[in-house]
Symmetry: C2
Subunit: 307 residues, 2 copies
């Protein structure tokens, strides 16, 4: 259940697993994100547990005492270390201690901060996020993000169709194309999202055809994969056999996808995104690329922001 299952367990595989220690004076999410991307390069031996890995995330490490304690522990376990430490003296301490203890280490924040510093011609503050006296986060962006998340939750699963004109992005697709997770993911990036289920034989809300069609995206998925996902869901929800067959049997799945395809064909300005085999983040990237491209008409599709 939840993060519980992700916990370290005692067992054979774990014993021989290699450890990666991630240390941050902040949340640790940056280090974790980079490590996850790098681990993607070892899927070929991670999936069959040919090269088992355990990661350990230490967040809020802003004093050298705890830093050194973690490094000596890493040395004992034969772990490697990845760190993001804003205070240069902490970064130096980490580097030096890792060298002394023979812990391979990678600085995630330093190189990119140095590059930005020389590009801007400005010295970095060296102050970790969350340090006393830092700015309060009550920025316009903060409020916009909160509003986007609350809007998106209220609009889940076709609710309140009278609000569709307020959405930045509208997702339409049959059940189990990942509309809800995708919506909340985009909401955390500051977009107000509404999602509309396509159900065979059920009409779509009138307002969907009254809004700017440039903000509507259709989601589609491979029929066999969809059936697999729906079977897993029907089982986990404890559907009766009858409901289950209507929901997840091949004929029904095929017909419903066909029903969606016709709707998309009738609305050719809606881009149709193939979600098969894509992680939530990947589908989100495709949608946002198209969304910004349509808005900005740049020569090369991009997402631009001001700081």
């Amino acid at each position: 259940v939840g993060g519980g299952e992700q916990q370290e367990e005692e067992g054979e595989a774990v014993m021989s697993a290699k450890s990666i220690y991630m240390v941050s004076d902040g949340t640790g999410w940056t280090a974790e994100h980079s490590v996850n991307a790098a681990l993607g390069q070892f899927d070929h031996c991670l999936v069959d547990r040919g090269c088992p890995v355990n990661t350990h995330l230490f967040s809020g490490i802003d004093d050298s005492e705890r830093l050194l304690k973690i490094i000596t522990q890493a040395a004992k376990e034969g772990a490697m270390m990845v760190y993001t430490l804003a205070d240069p003296s902490m970064g130096e301490a980490a580097k030096k201690a890792c060298r002394i203890w023979g812990v391979p280490s990678t600085d995630i924040l330093g190189p990119i901060t140095e590059a930005v510093a020389s590009h801007l011609g400005v010295l970095p503050s060296g102050v970790p996020r969350g340090a006393p006296g830092r700015s309060s986060h009550l920025t316009e962006e903060y409020f916009q993000r909160i509003e986007a998340i609350e809007f998106t939750i209220k609009q889940d699963d076709g609710a309140l169709p009278q609000n569709l004109h307020k959405a930045d992005i509208i997702l339409a697709g049959v059940s189990r194309t990942g509309k809800t997770p995708l919506s909340t993911y985009l909401a955390h990036k500051g977009y107000k999202v509404a999602n509309i289920p396509i159900v065979m034989g059920v009409g779509l809300p009138k307002t969907l055809f009254e809004v700017d069609p440039e903000k509507v995206f259709g989601l589609t998925i491979n029929q066999i994969v969809l059936q697999t996902i729906r079977r897993a869901r029907a089982k986990s929800l404890g559907f009766s056999d009858e409901v289950r067959s209507n929901y997840s049997e091949m004929d029904h799945v095929r017909e419903e996808l066909e029903f969606a395809r016709k709707i998309f064909a009738n609305n050719p300005s809606w881009p149709v995104i193939e979600v098969t085999g894509k992680a939530i983040e990947e589908t989100a990237a495709v949608i946002l690329r198209l969304y910004h491209d349509r808005k900005s008409k740049c020569s090369m599709p991009r997402i631009s922001k001001r700081y």
Copy 2:
């Protein structure tokens, strides 16, 4: 509205802004996350726009033709470049072209991937995420995450208290302590979250006191900051003056926080998290650190995962 406002605009400030190009063969979120962390080190001159920055994210760049087009564009704009490219020949091409064109460049993926490779003694695949033939994402973790998100949305704002025993984490706090955004953020990390509003004079659901108290977290916030946030909200929701004053006036805010404080005092095993001035990610980091610490009783608080 949404990402729209984050778009590049024509204007004086933008003209003198320095550009950062981010290029990925995947989603680009890893590069964006690292650049955001680095930009945090320049808040002192970003907030007053003393060193304006524009970022441009190019995702799904998996051929050298588009890569070179972006680099020549970066050269024209005097931009710096940050990239994550899994295919070593693409990484090499980026590095070489940047050198030729005089574009300062930082490789985000290469160093960490190399470090992991030599730690594991395994060669990286060199295959970008999303490349044809990659694994299908229909892993247990995928389903767990989807389930967590759907559970969390259904449990928003005190709904379905009979399900509290199914939650991994329960958040309790007065209105505008950020329960909803925090819940969906944690849900995307795979945790089933329920949130319970504390409203003065309103009783809490009985089931809250029947669940494992180790999974309940109280949220608290500075009184003045809370009033500021509530005023902004009351305005944006168009509350009437009467409702508004009840919701956001100082006496009421103080009394409601006092009401919450008493509830927390009566339940001393619930950790109380101060959210004032914290971004959603920061509060999430604090909660997950405590959550995992209580579960694993390690010598040093950490979040561990198996791969």
